[in-house]
Amino acid sequence: MAAAIYSLYIINKSGGLIYYKDYGSAGRMDTNDSLRVASLWHSMHAISQQLSPVSGCLGIELLQADTFDLHCYQSLTGTKFFVVCEPGTQHMESLLKYIYELYTDYVLKNPFYEMEMPIRCELFDINLTQAVQKDRVAFLGR
């Protein structure tokens, strides 16, 4: 099954970027740009709830563009995990839920981690790379 993830972002409930990892896209961004893009996404996510024709809208879950898809998962506390991947990539929702589990295990349970701050947890990075690696293998072969 061909699957290729370009990048992963995690933003806190105020819209600040706390984690950004690029897995080999040509459009790798510097820190400032990634911060801006994350804040913009946070605002767009909120505005999309206002435009809903029926009540109970929780925000954008999938954005389909010409060259990529963006899958977003929002936890109950407002932390957003979103991944930029190739169009048509399957099973991104389950990957995002799994990344959320890794976040709760390796970041939130880390006593040295300050809430809403950028993530600097080595175990989180290691496990995250493993989780994404199996999707990235097909991409490396391209």
């Binding site: 370009y6 990048s7 896209s25 040509a26 459009g27 961004m29 740009d33 801006r36 893009v37 913009l40 996404w41 605002s43 767009m44 505005i47 999309s48 709830q49 206002q50 435009l51 809903s52 024709p53 029926v54 009540s55 109970g56 809208c57 929780l58 925000g59 954008i60 879950e61 999938l62 954005l63 389909q64 563009a65 010409d66 060259t67 990529f68 963006l70 930029v84």
Partner: protein
């Protein structure tokens, strides 16, 4: 439907799989942000008044296009965020989905934006949007009484659009 000079309208695309009350609203904007058309068929919730709603929708589209152009993983150099993109310049999105609705978007080379808000399980509506654009060309642009850049007041266009939406909804 036959028009002068032969029909160039492609045949109606197939009905999407989800049935029932599929179509919620449609918006059409021109390149300057003027709302040319807003029709709703099923909208239980209205959070803002009409003016603010249109402005918010246009603003959302503008920002999302800016975002997708910047986030494009296949192109190396892009402009800065917030720089207005010409139609067709940079990577643009064609739809997004939330848990309660799906928004499908199309921009013509002249900057006419068509937005359809439907049920979340609707399939790919790009062909339907192209068909609606053709309806706009035939019934609105070719109408000698229509001034470009003004809101659409063509009864024939409205009825044909409603009929088409009932067909795919």
């Amino acid at each position: 439907m036959q028009f002068f000079g032969g029909s160039e309208i492609s045949p109606s695309p197939p009905v999407p799989t989800a049935s029932g009350n599929n179509g919620h609203m449609i918006y059409m904007f021109n390149r300057n942000g003027v709302c040319l058309l807003y029709r709703e068929w099923n909208r239980p919730l209205r959070t803002l008044n009409a003016q603010q709603d249109h402005k918010l929708m246009f603003g959302l589209l503008f920002s999302l296009k800016s975002l997708t152009a910047k986030m494009d993983p296949t192109s190396a150099e892009k402009g800065n965020l917030g720089v207005p993109q010409l139609p067709g310049q940079g990577c643009s999105f064609h739809s997004f989905r939330t848990n309660t609705y799906k928004l499908s978007f199309m921009e013509s080379p002249s900057g006419i934006k068509i937005i359809l808000v439907t049920h979340p399980r609707t399939g790919d509506l790009r062909d339907s949007l192209k068909y609606i654009y053709n309806l706009y060309v035939e019934y609105v642009v070719k109408n000698p009484l229509y001034t470009p850049g003004s809101p659409i007041r063509c009864q024939l266009f409205n009825t044909t659009l409603d009929q088409y939406m009932r067909g795919i909804a």
